[in-house]
C-alpha cells in the first residue's frame, strides 16, 4: 500500500507539471465518455432493463390488424364491439384492461383546461402495480358495466390543476358536463406505460364505462378506432402465439358475420397480434438509440486515439526518467506500474468530468426530449451509469498505460542514458507512424461522412416544404357539446361561424374541413375501381369545402376543386392527391375516373388532382377529398401580421351557440413546428455530434501527424546536418505523411462499403449519402492534415539543425 501511495504521489507531482496534458485528456474523454454514458443509459433501459411493472414480461397489447385479401392494410385499430368481445373472452389473459384515450374539459375549473383523459377498467392499475400518493384506484364496482363516476388523478394533474391539495380525495369535479368524485392520486414515480404515444400522458383516469361512445358506436363493427386498446397479463402457460390464435379465430368469425353483404368488407379479415409492452413502448426507438450509441462510441474511439497520441508523446518526453529508473533496476512491470498510476489518475479526473457531463445530458433530455424518448422518466444517473464510468475509465487507463509501455524500448533505455545527452534521440519506426496516421484518418473519415450524412437527412426533412402554406393560418376545432348536432345543424353552425369570422377585419378567409392541414389522424377508407370488384385503393379521406385548397395554398395539379354548391350538396365528386392519382392511372390522367367510395353504390367522379402534402413523421399516403365538411373544424386565414384572439373567438361562439367550446385554436405554423420537433431534435443532436466529430477528428489528425513529425525531429536534424534544404525536408515530410493519409481514406472507403453491404436496410432508412458528405469530409480532413504537417515542421525548419540534433527547445 505504501508502494502504491508512493506511486500516487509521484504521479500527482508529475501531472501537476503538465496541466495542459491533464486538461486536454479530461476534456476530450470527459465529453465523449459522458455522452456515451448517457447513450448507454438509454440503451440499457430500452434493451436490458425490465419495465417497472409486476410480471412485466407477460404484459401484452392485443393489437388489431386489418387485412385486405390477406395483405396487411392497417394495424393498431379495433372496433368497439370487437374490443369488448376479446375483453370478455376467457382463457387468454389472467387479468386484462380496456383503455380509451381521449380528451375532455375540466369544466369545474374556471379556465376549463382540456386534459388528456383515459377511460380505463380497473385492471390497468393492477397490471401496472400503480403506486398511490393518495386514496385508491378503481374498485370492482367501478369497472366495465358500472357507471360509478370516480376519477383518479395523475400526480402531474394533481400538482398543476389542483395545487397539490392533500384533501383532494372526495372532491367533486366536473369533466365536460358530468360530475365525478376524485378517489385517488397516483404517485409521482408511477411510470405510465406510454402505449398510445410517447407524447401523451394521462391527466385523469375515468371509468371505462363512462367513455363518450353512444349505443350505436358501441355496436358498430365497421368503424375502426386507434384510440381504444386491450391490454393484459397472459394467463400462465399461454404463449403470445397461442393468445393471438385464441383471440383471432372467434373475432374474425364474428366480424365476417357482422359485415357480410357490405361490399367494401368483402375481402377484409381481422387478426389479433400480441405486442409486448416493451415493444409497444419502445417502438422503433431502439434502432435510433442503437445508432446513437454506435455514433457516440465511435466518437469515444477517436477521442481515445487522440489521447493515445498524447500519452505516447508524454512517454517520449519521459524517456530520461524512464532511463534512470531502468538503470537503477526497474523492470518492465515497475515501469508499467508507474505509467498506469499516472494514466489512472488522469482517467479518474476524466471520469469525474464524464459523470458531470452525463448528469447534464440526462437533465437536458428530461427538459427537451419529453415525449420523444421512451421511459425517459426512468433515466438518470444511477449505479449503472457510475459503474459504467468506472469500468470505462479503468479500461482506458490500462489501454493507455499498455500502449505507452509498448513504445518504450526497454533494452535501449540504459544505453540512451549513457549517450550523454548528445543527440541520441528516440527514433520511432516508420511502420508505427504510418499505422497511427492511417487509422486516425480512416476513423475520422468514416465518422465525418456518417455524421454529415445524418445531418443532411435531418436538414432535408426540416427544409422540405409542407406543400401548403403555414403562415397566417389557424386551425379552429370546436366541440359541439353534450347534446350533439345533426349533420344539417353542423352545416348551419359552420356557415354561421364562418360568416362571423369573415366579418372580422383581421380575417382574410375561412374554410371548413373534417381535419386541418396539420392533422396526423387517419380516416381510413377504401376506394373501389368497380362495385364489387377486387381492385381497391386504401385512402386517407377528408371532407372539405370549396375554399379549403385555396385558403391553405395547396395548389391543384390538374382539374378543379369543388364549387360552393357541390360542397353544400355533397355531390358525388372527389379530389385526389398526386400519389392516389398515379395509383388510379399510372400512365395518364385520373381526371374523369369514376370510383366507388366506402359503402356508396353511386360512383364518385374525380374532378381534380391536388399536390401532395408532406407532414413530418407521416409517411406518404393516398389522400382523397370529398365535398361538404361534416365536423366543426375550420381553417382561418388572418391578414399578414394579424392574430386570432381566443377570448374573441369564445365570445363569438357564445353568440352562435353557447354549447360550443374550443377544442383547439392554434397557428398552423406552431402545430407544424411541433410535428417537426422530433426532426429538429434529431438535427440538433446530429449537428452537435457532427461538430464534436469535427473537433475530435481535427484534434486527432493534428495530434497524430504533428506527433509523428515531432518524433522525427532528430532524424530531420540529421538530414539537415548533411545538407538537406528546408524545401527538401518539407517535401519529404509531406510525401511521407500523405501516403498513410491516402491509405486511411482507402480503408475508410472500404469500411464504408462493407458497412453499407452489411447494414444496407437499416442505413437506407436513415441515410441517403449523396456526394457532398464524403467530399466535405475529405476536404476538411486534408485541411487538418496540411495544417498538422506545416505547424510542427515550420518550428523545426526555423531552427538551426543543432537544436533538433540535441532535442533542445519546445515544439
Amino acid at each position: 500500500m505504501s508502494g502504491f501511495g508512493y506511486e500516487l504521489r509521484q504521479a500527482l507531482a508529475s501531472l501537476r507539471r503538465a496541466p495542459g496534458f491533464v486538461a486536454t485528456v479530461a476534456l476530450t474523454l470527459g465529453l465523449t465518455l459522458g455522452a456515451l454514458v448517457c447513450m448507454f443509459g438509454i440503451n440499457r433501459l430500452l434493451f436490458l432493463a425490465p419495465l417497472p411493472y409486476p410480471d412485466q414480461q407477460r404484459l401484452y397489447v392485443a393489437q388489431g390488424v386489418v387485412l385486405d385479401q390477406g395483405q396487411e392494410a392497417f394495424r393498431g385499430l379495433h372496433t368497439y364491439p370487437a374490443l369488448m368481445q376479446m375483453y370478455q373472452q376467457g382463457g387468454v389473459f389472467e387479468r386484462a384492461a380496456v383503455l380509451n384515450f381521449g380528451k375532455a374539459f375540466l369544466t369545474s375549473d374556471p379556465n376549463q383546461p382540456r386534459l388528456n383523459v383515459t377511460y380505463a377498467s380497473s385492471g390497468l392499475f393492477d397490471l401496472t402495480g400503480a403506486p398511490l400518493k393518495l386514496g385508491r384506484t378503481f374498485q370492482q364496482g367501478e369497472d366495465v358495466g358500472s357507471s360509478v363516476p370516480s376519477a383518479v388523478l395523475s400526480y402531474q394533474a394533481w400538482a398543476t390543476q389542483f395545487g397539490s391539495d392533500p384533501s383532494v380525495v372526495g372532491r367533486k369535479i366536473s369533466i365536460d358536463s358530468a360530475s365525478y368524485t376524485v378517489v385517488g392520486v397516483l404517485a409521482k414515480d408511477y411510470a405510465e406505460p406510454q402505449l398510445h404515444s410517447l407524447e401523451r400522458s394521462t391527466d385523469i383516469y375515468l371509468p371505462w364505462e363512462l367513455n363518450p361512445r353512444d349505443k350505436q358506436a358501441r355496436e358498430d363493427w365497421e368503424n375502426f378506432d386507434s384510440n381504444i386498446m386491450l391490454v393484459g397479463r397472459l394467463a400462465a402457460g399461454v404463449t403470445p402465439d397461442q393468445a393471438s390464435a385464441a383471440l383471432t379465430e372467434p373475432l374474425n368469425r364474428r366480424f365476417r358475420a357482422q359485415t357480410a353483404g357490405i361490399g367494401q368488407f368483402a375481402t377484409i379479415t381481422v387478426e389479433v397480434a400480441m405486442l409486448s409492452f416493451a415493444q409497444a413502448i419502445t417502438g422503433d426507438s431502439k434502432r435510433v438509440a442503437l445508432m446513437l450509441l454506435a455514433g457516440v462510441a465511435a466518437l469515444l474511439v477517436i477521442a481515445a486515439a487522440n489521447v493515445s497520441n498524447l500519452f505516447l508523446a508524454r512517454t517520449a518526453q519521459k524517456q530520461r526518467q524512464l532511463s534512470i529508473q531502468a538503470t537503477l533496476g526497474a523492470n518492465r512491470g515497475h515501469l508499467f506500474r508507474t505509467m498506469f498510476t499516472e494514466s489512472a489518475v488522469v482517467m479518474g479526473i476524466a471520469g469525474l468530468a464524464a459523470t458531470g457531463v452525463a448528469a447534464l445530458c440526462f437533465g437536458l433530455l428530461h427538459s427537451f426530449a419529453q415525449g420523444k424518448v421512451p421511459r425517459l422518466g426512468e433515466l438518470g444517473l444511477d449505479a449503472w451509469s457510475v459503474g459504467f464510468v468506472l469500468l470505462a475509465s479503468l479500461l482506458l487507463a490500462l489501454v493507455f498505460a499498455a500502449l505507452s509501455i509498448r513504445m518504450v524500448n526497454y533494452g535501449a533505455l540504459a544505453a540512451a542514458l549513457q549517450s550523454g545527452g548528445k543527440g541520441s534521440g528516440l527514433q520511432v519506426s516508420q511502420t508505427t507512424r504510418k499505422v497511427l496516421i492511417a487509422s486516425q484518418i480512416a476513423v475520422a473519415a468514416v465518422l465525418l461522412v456518417a455524421n454529415f450524412g445524418l445531418l443532411k437527412e435531418s436538414v432535408a426533412v426540416l427544409m422540405r416544404p409542407a406543400g401548403f402554406e403555414t403562415q397566417d393560418l389557424y386551425e379552429l376545432t370546436l366541440n359541439e357539446g353534450e347534446r350533439g348536432l345533426s349533420p344539417e345543424e353542423k352545416q348551419q353552425q359552420l356557415a354561421s361561424i364562418g360568416a362571423e369570422l369573415r366579418a372580422w377585419s383581421n380575417v382574410a378567409g375561412v374554410a371548413a374541413a373534417g381535419t386541418g392541414p396539420t392533422s396526423t389522424s387517419v380516416w381510413a377508407t377504401t376506394l373501389l375501381r368497380e362495385l364489387g370488384g377486387n381492385e381497391k385503393f386504401k385512402t386517407n379521406s377528408n371532407r372539405v369545402d370549396a375554399d379549403y385548397f385555396n385558403l391553405i395554398g395547396l395548389p391543384m395539379a390538374e382539374g378543379r376543386s369543388f364549387s360552393a354548391q357541390e360542397s353544400r350538396e355533397r355531390a358525388p365528386l372527389i379530389v385526389v392527391n398526386e400519389t392516389l392519382a398515379k395509383a388510379i392511372n399510372p400512365d395518364g390522367s385520373a381526371i374523369g375516373a369514376t370510383l366507388y367510395w366506402n359503402k356508396n353504390t353511386e360512383p364518385f367522379r374525380v374532378i381534380g388532382v391536388v399536390r401532395d402534402v408532406f407532414l413530418p413523421t407521416v409517411p406518404p399516403a393516398q389522400r382523397l377529398y370529398l365535398p361538404g365538411p361534416a365536423e366543426l373544424n375550420l381553417v382561418v386565414k388572418v391578414k399578414p401580421g394579424q392574430q386570432l384572439d381566443q377570448a374573441a373567438v369564445v365570445a363569438m361562439l357564445a353568440k352562435v351557440n353557447s354549447s360550443l367550446r374550443i377544442n383547439k385554436l392554434a397557428p398552423v405554423q406552431q402545430t407544424y413546428r411541433s410535428l417537426l420537433a422530433r426532426d429538429i431534435t434529431t438535427a440538433a443532436i446530429t449537428g452537435l455530434l457532427t461538430v464534436l466529430a469535427l473537433f475530435l477528428a481535427g484534434v486527432g489528425v493534428y495530434g497524430v501527424l504533428s506527433y509523428s513529425i515531432k518524433l522525427r525531429r532528430h532524424e530531420l536534424g540529421i538530414r539537415m546536418a548533411i545538407g538537406a534544404s528546408p524545401r527538401r525536408i518539407a517535401g519529404l515530410v509531406y510525401r511521407d505523411s500523405l501516403r498513410p493519409v491516402a491509405w486511411g481514406f482507402g480503408i475508410s472507403a472500404v469500411a464504408g462499403v462493407l458497412l453499407y453491404l452489411f447494414a444496407r436496410k437499416q442505413l437506407d432508412s436513415v441515410l441517403e449519402l449523396g456526394a457532398w458528405p464524403p467530399v466535405l469530409s475529405v476536404v476538411l480532413i486534408m485541411l487538418a492534415v496540411l495544417l498538422a504537417c506545416w505547424l510542427p515542421l515550420r518550428a523545426i525548419l526555423r531552427e538551426w539543425p543543432v537544436r533538433s540534433l540535441r532535442g533542445d527547445g519546445a515544439l
Binding site: S419, K422, G423, A721, G723, R727, R798, W800, V802, L805
Partner: protein, 233 residues
C-alpha cells in the same frame, strides 16, 4: 603556403535564458589550412562542441566572422547554410547519427541526393562504393545501422561525411561511444584520410587522440588558449 579552408575571427556564442546569459565562446579566432589535422580539446563544458557546431554551420554565431574557402558564411540563411553544409562540410558525430530505416548504402548516398544540381544514379553508386571501400564496409552495404557494431557505424558515418568530397571533415568526439580497440581503428582511419589529403578538425577530450593531430588547440571557458597559455596549463 597551403590554402585557407576555414577562418574564424572573433567568434562569440551566447545562450540566453530568462535566468542568465551563458557565454559559450568568447572571441575565438581559428584558421585551418588545406590538409591540416587540427584537434580541439578542453575540459567538459569549455565550448568544444559549440565551436564544432558553428564550424559545421549547424548553428549561427552571436558575433564574429566566419569564412569557408574565402566565402563569408557567418550570416547565411538556413537554406544557404544547408547548401554549404552539403557541398563543403563533412560531419562525423559522436553518436554516429545514422538513419535507422535506411541501409548503409542509402545512408552514405543521402548527401549526394541533396545536391542542388542532381546527380545521376550511376555516379552516386560509384562514389558511394568508393567510400564504402575506403572505410572497409562494402560487405555490409545493404545492412541497417542497427545491425552494425559501434565501430562499424562510425566508419559508415565517416564514409557519409566523405562522399561529397567536402572541403573539411569535422569530427566530434569520434571515439566517445566506442571501446578502445574500435576507437583506435577509427582514429587510424582518420589519420589515413588526412595523410591522403583530407582536411580534418576534430574535437576530443582524449589527449592520446588529440596528440595524433598536427595542430593541437585548447579551449578553456570559451576562449582559445595560445601556445604559451597551453604550455602553462
Amino acid at each position: 603556403m597551403k590554402d585557407i579552408k576555414i577562418q574564424m575571427k572573433g567568434i562569440t556564442k551566447q545562450f540566453s535564458t530568462d535566468a542568465m546569459d551563458t557565454h559559450a565562446l568568447r572571441g575565438v579566432d581559428l584558421t585551418i589550412r588545406s590538409g591540416d589535422y587540427v584537434s580541439i580539446s578542453g575540459p567538459s563544458g569549455c565550448g568544444k562542441s559549440t565551436l564544432l557546431s558553428l564550424l559545421g554551420l549547424l548553428d549561427s554565431p552571436t558575433s564574429g566572422q566566419y569564412f569557408i574557402e574565402g566565402k563569408d558564411v557567418a550570416r547565411l540563411s538556413l537554406a544557404e547554410a544547408a547548401a554549404i553544409r552539403n557541398e563543403k562540410i563533412g560531419f562525423v558525430f559522436q553518436s554516429f547519427n545514422l538513419i535507422d530505416e535506411l541501409s548503409v548504402f542509402d545512408n552514405i548516398a543521402l548527401p549526394l541526393r541533396y545536391r542542388s544540381k542532381g546527380m545521376d544514379e550511376a555516379e552516386i553508386t560509384a562514389r558511394v562504393n568508393h567510400c564504402l571501400d575506403k572505410v572497409e564496409m562494402a560487405h555490409r552495404a545493404q545492412h541497417r545501422p542497427t545491425q552494425l557494431s559501434g565501430g562499424q557505424q562510425q566508419r559508415v558515418a565517416i564514409a557519409r561525411a566523405l562522399v561529397g568530397t567536402p572541403a573539411i571533415l569535422l569530427v566530434d568526439e569520434p571515439t566517445g561511444n566506442l571501446d578502445s580497440t574500435n576507437g583506435d581503428i577509427v582514429m587510424e582511419m582518420l589519420a589515413q584520410l588526412n595523410r591522403e589529403g583530407t582536411t580534418l578538425c576534430m574535437v576530443t577530450h582524449d589527449s592520446r587522440y588529440a596528440n595524433m593531430a598536427s595542430t593541437r588547440l585548447q579551449l578553456r571557458d570559451g576562449v582559445m588558449l595560445d601556445t604559451a597559455q597551453r604550455e602553462a596549463a
